[in-house]
Structures are given as C-alpha cells and as structure tokens.
C-alpha cells in the first residue's frame, strides 16, 4: 500500500506493525507531492491511503488529483475523513473509493463511544484482477463470488460477511444509539467547531508565544486553494502550533489551562488540548519527534463548541503560566 506519511500516529503504528505482521508492505509518501504518489506504485501495490486533513500536520489532500493517479493504475483510494466529517467534505464525490471515519470523534461528538464507519462508493471494479480476495470464489463462504453476485454492494457484503465476522470489530448497540444522537447535531456542531477554530487560529497567528500555526483555514495557509475546493465550509477544527520555549513551555502551558481538557481524543464538543512531547510521544527524542511531525513545543488543539471568548481566555491562562515559569519566550 502507498500511504501519506502525514497521518495520525495510531494509524502509522497499525501500518508499520500490525500490517507488517500481515505481510503488507507500506511505501510512505509526502501527500502533497503528486509525483511521489505516482513513483511509489509497484506491481504489487493494492491501494492508496491518506487523510483528508492530516493529523497533526494539518495538511489537506488534493483528493481529485490523487484519486486520478490511483485510478490510472486501477487502484482504489482510501481516505480517512474523520477530521472533516461528511458535513465538511465528501471524498467519494472527488473520486475516493473507500472513506473511513473514526465515529469516536466528530460523528459521535461527545467522546463517549468508540466506533468506526467504512463507506464504499460501489464504483470500483474489484474484479479487475488485483483483488482475488474479493472477486474470486470465497472459500469461507461456500464459494460465493462477492463482487460478481452483489455488484455495487459486493465489497461491503464481503466486508461484513467475512472480515467483520472474523475480526469481531462490531459496534455496540448502545454506542450506535449514542452515535445517532450525535449525528442529529453534526451540522450544528461542525459549523460552530469551524467558526471557533478560525477565531482561535487567527488569535494564535499573531501571538508572540505561538509559532507555526498549522491551520489550513487561515488566510495565509499554503493549502488555501485546496480548502476552497474540498472544504468550503471550513478546514476542520483540529490543528497544532508550536509554543516558544520548547518542551518545558509546552508542559507549563498545559498546567495553566483549566477549561480545555487535557486528553488525547479529538472531535469532542469539549475543547481538548495535548502536548505530544510530554505525553503520547514522551519516549521520543528530538530526532524521532521530528520524524513524527511533532516538535518539542507542539501543542495540538481540538477546538470545541464552547464560547470562543472563553476558549481564548483560557489559552491565555496557559501562556501566562508558561511565561511565569520562565521557560517561554526562549
């Protein structure tokens, strides 16, 4: 599989370790580099994988262009659309073949339930010779040929009847109920998330203690044209910036905020903040952090739906603490 290198760490882990144990090889590419996608294709490539909005890099994928390259080579494009949600972006409309969501995030919207969604366009030709597992008679299902028998529903029938059955990643009924609850307010929440995110990103963009605000929705972002095309309603609400003063300043900042919840989750109605260098990426040295796309002072914000003024006030508490402890401004 050819994958964007700018992905959520948990996904990277799965690809590097779990898929490796299953003998799936990964080629990592800079998602912004279309030539790199093309050059990475080999005879045994099965799929392309990317995120609509990268975590935490904040890069936006040129969906149509990458989908075109994939299709030129009879490959499906898989897109993790968690950060955008269907409200902000529908990758299938731009050529994606399979779209994934961690419903745990925005779809549920309240950080209460773990779950996922797989959406398939029904348009990809799984019988093109590269996907015997889907197209050939299935030994685990009395010799049924899923794609031929079920047509546009073939891939999903296979996914449910075999993969889901065998791996057991079944959604709990109560979680399903909670996701339905969350979905009722998705459009309302996303509008507010995006509004708040822009206000906060703008605030940080001119802040003396914040650098490299990686929010694609900012006027000066290099991803502006892609945002205008693929995310006209807003560039999501999760982004990161670097606090001046490195790791220590990051730690002090986190101790200073009281309204933003210190959690590794994203997409919650509550605003969430995390300093990867002292938590999720604590065991990495500077080199390794850099390779993971994280700096010692990187702070990731998942902007919630509270009042923007309250959120900014609380961020200032964090900055004040970092300043007071003397580490910031260095």
């Amino acid at each position: 599989m050819v994958s964007s290198a700018s992905l959520y760490g948990g996904t990277v882990n799965q690809f590097k370790h779990v898929l490796r144990k299953l003998s799936v090889e990964l080629t990592w590419v800079d998602p912004d580099d279309l030539d790199a996608w093309r050059a990475a294709i080999r005879a045994n490539t099965k799929a392309f994988f990317a995120e609509t909005i990268g975590n935490p890099g904040g890069n936006v994928l040129d969906l149509e262009a990458v989908a075109r390259i994939a299709h030129e080579h009879h490959l499906p494009l898989l897109v993790d659309n968690t950060f955008a949600t269907p409200y902000l972006c529908r990758p299938i409309e731009w050529g994606a073949d399979i779209v994934l969501h961690s419903a745990t995030k925005y779809l549920g919207g309240h950080g209460t339930s773990i779950g996922g969604v797989v959406v398939e366009s029904g348009q990809f030709n799984w019988s093109n010779g590269r996907f015997p597992v889907i197209a050939d008679p299935s030994p685990a299902y009395h010799g049924l040929q899923f794609h031929e028998t079920f047509g546009t529903y073939g891939y999903l029938m296979k996914l449910r009847a075999e993969t889901l059955r065998d791996l057991g990643a079944c959604l709990s009924p109560f979680n399903a109920f909670l996701f339905l609850q969350g979905l009722e307010t998705l459009s309302l929440r996303m509008t507010r998330h995006v509004e708040n995110a822009l206000a906060i990103a703008n605030h940080l963009a001119t802040h003396d203690l914040a650098a490299n605000v990686r929010y694609a929705g900012l006027a000066g972002s290099r991803y502006r044209p892609l945002v205008d095309k693929y995310l006209p309603r807003g560039a999501g609400a999760v982004f990161s910036f670097d606090i001046r003063g490195g790791r220590a300043a990051g730690e002090d900042f986190i101790r200073g905020v009281t309204l933003w919840s210190h959690l590794a989750n994203v997409g919650d109605a509550k605003s969430l903040v995390i300093h990867p260098a002292s938590t999720t990426h604590r065991q990495l040295d500077e080199q390794e952090l850099k390779a993971a796309g994280v700096g010692p002072g990187t702070i990731r914000l998942s902007v919630g739906i509270e009042d923007a003024a309250d959120l900014i006030w609380d961020l200032e508490q964090g900055f004040a603490r970092a300043r007071a402890c003397g580490a910031a401004g260095g």
């Binding site: 009395h142 010799g143 049924l144 028998t149 047509g151 529903y153 999903l156 449910r160």
Partner: protein
C-alpha cells in the same frame, strides 16, 4: 410505482430461478417467500425449488401471476414478455442487466408495468424492508417507516 407493485402483489413467478442456493435468483426467491409472497419457479431444468413445483414455462403455471420476475439473458425477454402478456400479469420485473427494448415494448403496449435492471429484492428492502439495517445507502431520506408513501 415500485412501492405500489411491491405492496399490491401476492404472486411472483420467477423465470430463471435457480435451485443452487448460491445464485442470486435463489436469494431473491427465498427473500420473497420469507416476506409473504407466493413464489412460482419457472425453470425447465428443475422439478421443485424452494418447496414449490417448478414449471417449464409461464404458460404452464396454473395460478394467476402478479409479477413476472426475470433472471434470464436479455435476448430471452421478448419471448417471456409475450407469455407474461398472455398470462395477464400486472408487472414484468427484469433484474440487473436484463435490458431489452423489444421485450419491454411488447409488455408496455399490453398495459403491463415494466421495470428493468433493478433487483426486486433490493427494491423491496429499500422501501419496505430493512436495507438500512445492513448499512447500505437506501437513497431514501424519510422519517416514515416501511409504508407506502
């Protein structure tokens, strides 16, 4: 229109119904039976399918037929359409890829409703059944559950 046919019909003759449980026609026959329809197999190669006697052609079916559901090659459609007209069926329902304009015309001119390139099981599940339970996009956005709208 499809909803009306599905809700008003009682007897479906499935032309080309297979006795092999892995074939799509068999899934469809089983599903229709399970949902209260009387399924009449029309397949000269079988004697009995799904507990019902199989007839070699539509002409041999002894009861009234509401829907003629076709799982044959498109070239066979004109002949089947003529028989459907003779049997005074109300609808000629042709499955995926069973498209033939000449056959359709024969049936339409005689007053039958003709549906082509649609699966009767999928449409039933979409409107009346539980397609949404399987996570498929029903393409229906409605708060009304499984009733004629």
């Amino acid at each position: 229109m499809m909803q009306r046919i599905l809700l008003d019909s009682k007897t479906v003759a499935i032309v080309g119904l297979s006795g092999n449980p892995l074939r799509a026609s068999h899934f469809v026959g089983f599903y229709l039976q399970r949902h209260g329809y009387r399924v009449i197999p029309v397949n000269p190669r079988e004697a009995e399918i799904l507990g019902e006697r199989s007839y070699p052609s539509l002409r041999d079916v002894p009861v009234a037929i509401d829907v003629v559901n076709v799982f044959r090659t498109p070239d066979a459609l004109p002949g089947i359409a003529e028989e459907a007209v003779e049997r005074r069926a109300k609808c000629l329902w042709c499955q995926f890829n069973v498209v033939n304009e000449a056959g359709a015309r024969i049936a339409t001119q005689a007053g039958l409703t003709v549906i082509m390139d649609r699966c009767i099981k999928v449409e039933h599940a979409r409107f009346v059944g539980r397609m949404h339970w399987l996570g498929f996009n029903t393409q229906r956005i409605t708060s009304v559950r499984g009733m004629l709208q």
